[in-house]
Point group: C2
Chain length 353, copies 2
């Protein structure tokens, strides 16, 4: 070993879902939106004056921040924008989780939380979900260095009512509580209004799912202006200019089109409910997901083999190897009606064998 | 103070240069390129299929990495790409500067280095430049936790010959040495070939200056594949998908056009040399900058007042308040010939008064 290796931060990184480059696949493995972004996005990109790219972008990302603030009826100093919600969450871990007590998150949850904690040397404890894969709020009423959970949870899709979310916030006045709402637009109620009631609450959302912009990398957070200031100071200490000029305009246009957003999320919800009925008919078992995916297993078949067989048929879903408790489950993103029908047809034939 | 504030990382962020939104200004304050990006950039943006934005980008940024590797004749596993060189440098600080001994950098240098060190609680010592604002290589031949310096240095523009850079690397085999070459394309010789000779060397470059893409946020680093792997692991532990789909294509096209890159950098160098002659005639004093800016002062006038007076005439240059030694200096970015002529005319009249 070279001597300089002593000072290297050695980590085990997060593994994102596969991005195969096939033209004829059904890609239901990374919770992408099956519909294109709002029509104005195409216009703004087509007409973008690329000569402007020679100049730095607005470090405050002002236009996009204002558009988000307008849409959600909050003040612009209550909004933080980052390069995807992963960037926002990484900045939150770096800014707010610097205590000696362990932060808490569910044992089955977004698998990036423990990666951030490990990388930043943040002590943490995972809190087991109950047997129905639900968060038990009373488990978070104990000493800790911070709390984070997704709502709906990933990869289970289970939604906590906002009253239950509030009970967790209420039980933790001395630490920062982060509600990661990447999937909230598919049938959940946001904790956003609570930022005016609790000064320790941060609500995180993203353009990647409900606004069809996973490829643009835009995430955002809401909190009172004191927290947003702390977060921005750390961001400006990391990278002054995080969002490129084109993406700022893309995000601004996407946020502006409320009707398109409501239409596409409603379509995905309808497709999800149809898919649930069909999967149930085939004997699959799953919770009542309020996200853009279904976390399902089947009592009679080897679902890990099914995962591979789906892939051989160019149908990509997601399988997590750990924790052990979720090994029999597959996470199936909601695509278009046609895609889900094709998948259901495949499964019908598969189960007939 | 609320109890949760105890766990907040409190920092004093970097202050970027002003980005005034005026149409008739001469903006020489942030070292932007006065020429637009390569023509193919406009084409690729205009024809970009925005429907693709619904899907995550390639987390490995493969196309752009390959294009950079081809341009510089290195292997793709010797290239790391980030959201501007600030993102690349922040990741380097996070990955490699985790020792107890202080890292070393010049006392007059890119003012983000101490911000990163402070934010990440990295001990550091600044090494004074000599009276001519030059790095003395022998000052870096002592125990430390890492070394970083820009070449050419900022905001002085002073270039070290590559043999002197090598002497600093050679004197520091036990730590990581980072050569920050944001301005190398304006007349310097890169340390890039040395990555095959020294396993502890990282060379950082950017699309923001010589490739006219400050607004796109693309930076990159070269090092042997072991270092690139460590850096990538930390990046993947921070944010899997840092670069959006459009920017990946923009960067790829810009890197592909070698002729345009050589033309525009040659034009900027010629304009810089003309500007130096004119400034000298007016009694300004400055070093032999090999960057796209000139760091100048004038023995007979109050340059801080000049800074404000230039601004009143819509000519923006940069002034740094600290350290004390550089307070009388102004950093003037190189614009087009017409812009520099206009500035020189202003200065002529100003000095006649």
């Amino acid at each position: 070993m070279m001597k300089w290796e002593e000072n290297v931060r050695k980590v085990v990184p997060y593994t994102p879902g596969e991005q195969p480059k096939k033209s004829h696949m059904i890609k239901l493995n990374t919770n992408e939106n099956p519909y294109p972004p709002a029509p104005a996005v195409a216009e703004v990109v087509k007409n973008f004056n690329t000569d402007m790219l020679r100049m730095y972008p607005d470090p405050a990302i002002g236009d996009l921040v204002q558009e988000i603030a307008d849409f959600y009826k909050v003040s612009r100093d209550e909004v933080f924008v980052g390069v995807g919600s992963d960037d926002v969450l990484a900045m939150i871990f770096l800014t707010f989780f610097n205590g000696k007590k362990p932060i808490l998150f569910p044992d089955i949850t977004y698998s990036f939380y423990d990666v951030w904690a490990d990388m930043l040397r943040i002590p943490y404890e995972t809190v087991p979900l109950d047997d129905a894969f639900c968060i038990r709020p009373q488990d978070y009423a104990r000493e800790n260095g911070g709390v984070i959970f997704p709502n709906p949870n990933a990869p289970t899709g289970e939604l906590l009512p906002v009253e239950v979310v509030e009970s967790i916030i209420k039980a933790n006045p001395d630490v920062i509580v982060v509600v990661d709402e990447a999937y909230i637009d598919f049938g959940g109620e946001s904790a956003l209004p609570l930022i005016h009631k609790y000064d320790n609450l941060i609500v995180v959302q993203t353009f990647s799912k409900s606004r069809s912009l996973a490829g643009s990398r835009i995430g955002y957070a809401f909190a009172n202006k004191t927290l947003i200031k702390y977060l921005s100071d750390v961001k400006y200490s990391f990278n002054s200019y995080t969002m490129d000029r084109i993406t700022i305009e893309v995000g601004t246009q996407a946020m502006r089109d409320r009707a398109y957003f409501e239409q596409t999320t409603a379509k995905i919800i309808a497709t999800r409910e149809w898919t649930k009925k069909e999967l149930a008919k085939l004997g699959f078992v799953f919770g009542d997901s309020k996200s853009n995916f279904i976390f399902a297993t089947h009592p009679d078949i080897d679902t890990v083999k099914l995962f591979e067989d789906l892939k051989s048929a160019d149908i990509y879903v997601r399988h997590f190897n750990k924790p052990e408790r979720i090994r029999p489950y597959l996470r199936i993103s909601i695509g278009t009606d046609a895609q889900m029908q094709e998948m259901i047809e495949f499964l019908k034939k598969y189960l007939e064998k």
